[in-house]
Symmetry: C2
Subunit: 313 residues, 2 copies
């Protein structure tokens, strides 16, 4: 036992086995569908003012820990058309919640395609994972009191709500929420309780999502973005969208968001490839496991979770 | 093109495809043989005086980047008997060589077994990877001027030399090498040129390998350790051994090597599990690819290599 964790308990063994089976199912689907596995760097150079990166002492330089395959995804997509990576990711998270780890694994996909296509890819992948587990992890699911039928009933297409619709639903329900704000945990939780399978929220306003995402062609106040949410109150477990694919648009957006171009030269250089539509998404492995295994705290989804207060063992 | 890299070249695409195929072959073999995929932490707490760890600013604490699944492997092995991890690894490497990255991926296996068994596992895994590529990566191998027959002829059992034998061979060949010293690059390279398939060196002296390894039962000056070397002059691509499995032996060895027990409490705690033999190995993915793809510099095996002088892009 370390801290409050008993590694030898049947419950913890079942969670760790499901973790392995989720990864195997994801890779099977991705490999069979022609995605090439790639690795971006974990240690990345200056990220300017982007919040949330852990700092690494890299010889006499400052460096940071990755938050995802962006912007490296673009070179891989230029080479192979469709790629994926499954790798650790890091985020300085100062809140004590049941939903955040500072170190987590992500399943990330990037592809030459538009937003609608990447949403369909994401639902195919998640449905495949759920259906695989419903066949190959029955013993572990039973141990965790997750009904096999809950995973069988995950059906494509997943319900899709726009951000506009979400605000409307929540306002009608009496929540004090205004258009343009980030959906906080209470709102996400409430929304997620209305569903019994994963669902999407699309087209978040500019400012709510990262500056990589392309603006909506007809409504420039929106981005071509998508979040994947788990049902039953679990909330967000993935995010993605269609990337900006023109250098001048990126430069303009960086100027608007006051991001120093000097520090971002390495990113801007990635835009040299001829313009092509590129979309992608990232699913937090531990979030997906938290929902599938019905875990109260996300730390149970990781054998050695890293939290604000805990780095031991 | 970034620096000297053209991502769109046929050569670089072939290397990246082989990288994906090596991983797929490794996982197939491990999954089919009952190994459970696990993840240790990337950010680890104080490592005392262990050299070679990058420092991370973890809120108001100092933390470090992992150098492998040790000592976490032990808890996973206690739960599952045999496990593997494929994940990024970090080492401060101040030398400018054609063989070192500061960030690399490792294929790591840990198991309830003795040294001889883990050597056999390692040769089965490496042979499987080579034979898989000889069938599934013919186009890429041709592009890289690697003969398919070079991979077909990788046969179990791999040649095994003891460290004693290696010193003897090198001394007879006129090298100025004495028993007890680490095999430097020149020696490793020379030895490796004598082979046309991967081979092992076993039983390194105490002090040449990490303190985790058990002493030889009959010759306490040796450890139950094993390095995997590539042929054709490429040299070391993996290392492993049988771990110390008794708490009192570990404490004694830590005292001998002047490792502070205070900082290592988290490691010592792992020894609480009832004694069982545990062995493991780690193969450097980029080293394996460097040999398979006949690359002059290891940086070609990684899309965004991290080196002493280079962290961009």
């Amino acid at each position: 036992m370390f801290g409050d964790r008993d590694f030898q308990s049947e419950k913890n063994k079942a969670i760790m086995k499901i973790r392995a089976k989720v990864l195997d199912a994801a890779r099977c689907w991705l490999n069979q569908n022609g995605y090439i596995e790639v690795h971006g760097p974990t240690i990345i150079p200056a990220v300017g003012d982007w919040p949330g990166s852990f700092e690494v002492k890299y010889f006499d330089k400052k460096a940071y820990l990755t938050q995802g395959l962006q912007p490296y995804a673009r070179t891989f997509v230029a080479s192979f058309g469709k790629v994926y990576t499954i790798a650790p990711t890091f985020r300085v998270e100062k809140a004590r919640t049941r939903r955040h780890l500072t170190e987590y694994w992500r399943i990330e996909v990037a592809q030459k395609c538009d937003l609608d296509t990447i949403i369909k890819i994401q639902e195919e992948l998640v449905a495949h994972i759920c259906h695989s587990l419903s066949k190959d992890a029955r013993v572990e699911l039973k141990c965790l009191r997750r009904q096999v039928k809950d995973l069988c009933k995950v059906k494509k297409p997943f319900p899709r709500l726009t951000y506009d619709e979400v605000i409307d639903i929540l306002q009608k329900d009496g929540f004090n929420v205004s258009w343009g704000q980030k959906l906080d945990w209470e709102l996400e939780n409430n929304l997620s309780l209305r569903f019994d399978q994963p669902f999407f929220i699309t087209e978040f306003p500019v400012g709510v999502e990262t500056f990589f995402f392309k603006s909506h062609p007809n409504r420039p106040e929106l981005t071509l973005s998508v979040d994947l949410l788990a049902p039953e109150g679990y909330g967000e477990m993935g995010s993605g969208g269609q990337m900006i694919d023109e250098k001048k648009v990126l430069l303009k957006k960086m100027a608007e968001e006051k991001i120093e171009q000097g520090d971002q030269k390495w990113y801007i250089n990635f835009m040299q490839y001829r313009t092509f539509p590129q979309s992608g998404f990232m699913i937090g492995l531990e979030r997906l496991i938290q929902w599938i295994c019905k875990l109260i705290h996300i730390k149970e989804a990781s054998a050695f979770p890293r939290l604000l207060d805990s780095i031991y063992p």
